[in-house]
Amino acid sequence: MNKDQLITKLRTIIEPYVEDKSLLDDVNGETDLLNDLKINSAHLIDIILDVEEEFDIEINDEEADQMITVEAVLEIISGKMKA
């Protein structure tokens, strides 16, 4: 899976938790989930759980804390998938 495909998949996972859908128009690596996409922090855990399920991986607390930007999430996912 290349990076574009990963971003597309991640966007689909994140989409239900973003109230203002227009914010999803220009998602890139730098996009901050809480600040840019206005995702409620309570839903970060829901996103992590959905990511775990979609990619069949497990994300520990330390990694979860690092999932601030799209790039960071992608790195964690790719690292796990290679492993």
Binding site: P16, I45, D46, E52
Partner: protein, 428 residues
């Protein structure tokens, strides 16, 4: 501090016989029952296999909720409550203001009650925890499982900055929410309050009542005849579900913005019979009921003779004659002189904690439009009731009396708790 007069400026409802105020009004006028056979209750070996479930579909939800909001509302009672409240808000002519760069609405709050949390939410939580999957629970079990879920959700959508809370007093909950919101505004603590209550349907909510033999077990083949308050053949209540919501507002605030006014709330009272004098966890102390009614009348500055219509608690159980007797004693009125009395539960069943708010919406609508909806399934009125009230005071067809001005709405709940609210038709 000057006390505010309090008026009702918005209504919303999710009922077994109608989604939204328009459909509900039509069902009230036609005497349309919302009670159906429920397959799931039969499968789960319930003695009572009938009930009232709002026929909610996606199209209706889309009137009031975005896809984002719908995805978050997985509890049926929370969904019902939010839908009814959003309808009431818009019905009151109020806007939903964008979140960004706006201040909270410090003058508006919400008291939205519930009884039991949606069993499906608790079941999911318990199953996952017991299967050692606690880390996969996510946010839903809290945001949809907390009893204050409706008011919390509304607070976010509407930016409510006054008191945002929930209340619980079993089957008196909805009426109590209205009374609490009324006093909050009357005492000058807020200009506007959303008040209401909701209850989920289904086997997990209704099972305990089935086991207690409080539900009707003999109408499974004729669901619409099952809820028969005041009947000689009342055989237990039929469980219902749904939500009712009212926007209460100070008269000053309503007039300042030129709002439509349905009714004024003249006053009301909340008390308990103390589970003494015949009262218990499940039965009312009749002295408590009489005091509740009399205090509501006194506080409202009216006399017992002023009440034109009683929307009773009247559940279709053996307790109905006792309620009528209490009303008669509290008002000092009998036979032809008894007010009109009706049971909305004959149409929708007993919606438990949602009953008080849905039936209050029905009461306000009837005062506003000037009709009295029929009470169903009264082929034979209970003889003890007939010895107190003339049959023509219990309309079985819709009537449009020349003048109904003042209505009393009573609700009673487990724990021997009582609530009575007095509404007056708005005459500008």
């Amino acid at each position: 501090m000057q006390e505010n007069r309090v008026v009702v400026t918005g209504l919303g409802v999710i009922a077994p016989n109608g989604l939204g105020v328009n459909a509900f009004t039509q069902s009230l006028q036609k005497g349309q029952s919302g009670i159906r056979f429920i397959e799931e209750l039969a499968e789960k070996k319930f003695a009572c296999q009938i009930g009232g479930i709002p026929p909610l579909d996606e199209t209706y939800q889309d009137l009031y909720l975005t896809t984002f909001q719908k995805n978050l509302l997985v509890s049926s009672s929370v969904l019902y409550g939010v839908l009814a409240s959003m309808e009431a808000w818009k019905d009151a002519g109020l806007e939903v203001i964008e979140k960004e760069n706006t201040d909270p609405d410090w003058e508006t709050g919400c008291i939205f009650g519930t009884g039991l949390v949606d069993g499906e939410i608790i079941k999911r939580t318990m199953t996952m925890v017991d299967n050692l999957q606690v880390r996969r629970l996510g946010s839903t079990s809290v945001t949809q499982g907390m009893t204050s879920a409706v008011s919390a959700f509304l607070g976010g959508i509407l930016g409510l900055g006054n008191q945002v809370t929930t209340n619980a007093s079993a089957c008196s909950t909805g009426n109590e929410a209205i009374m609490m919101a009324y006093y909050h505004i009357k005492n000058g603590l807020a200009s506007r309050m959303i008040a209401g209550s909701s209850e989920s349907p289904g086997p997990y909510i209704w099972g305990g009542f089935d086991s207690m033999r409080l539900l009707n077990r003999s109408s499974n083949d004729q669901p619409e005849t099952g809820s028969a308050p005041m009947s000689a053949h009342a055989k237990g209540f039929v469980p219902g579900s749904g939500a009712g919501a009212l926007v209460l507002e100070s008269l000053e605030s309503a007039q300042a913005r030129g709002a439509k006014i349905y009714t004024e709330i003249l006053g009301g009272f909340i008390n308990s019979g103390g589970q003494r004098g015949g009262g218990s966890m499940t039965a009312p102390n009749l002295e408590g009921i009489r005091r509740c009614i009399q205090s509501a009348i006194k506080i409202s500055n009216i006399s017992p003779g002023d009440i034109d219509l009683i929307n009773g608690h009247l559940t279709s159980t053996m307790a109905d004659p006792f309620e009528i007797k209490s009303w008669s004693e509290a008002l000092g009125r009998k036979n032809d002189n008894f007010p009109y009395i009706q049971a909305t539960k004959s149409l929708i069943g007993h919606c438990l904690s949602a009953a008080g708010s849905i039936e209050s919406v029905a009461t306000v609508l009837q005062l506003h439009h000037g009709f009295i909806h029929p009470s169903l399934n009264l082929d034979e009125i209970h003889p003890e009731i007939l010895s107190i009230v003339s049959p023509e005071r219990i309309p079985q067809q819709k009537i449009d009396p020349a003048s109904i001005s003042i209505a009393a709405k009573s609700s009673f709940g487990f724990g021997d708790v009582n609530c009575c609210t007095i509404f007056r038709r708005w005459e500008p």
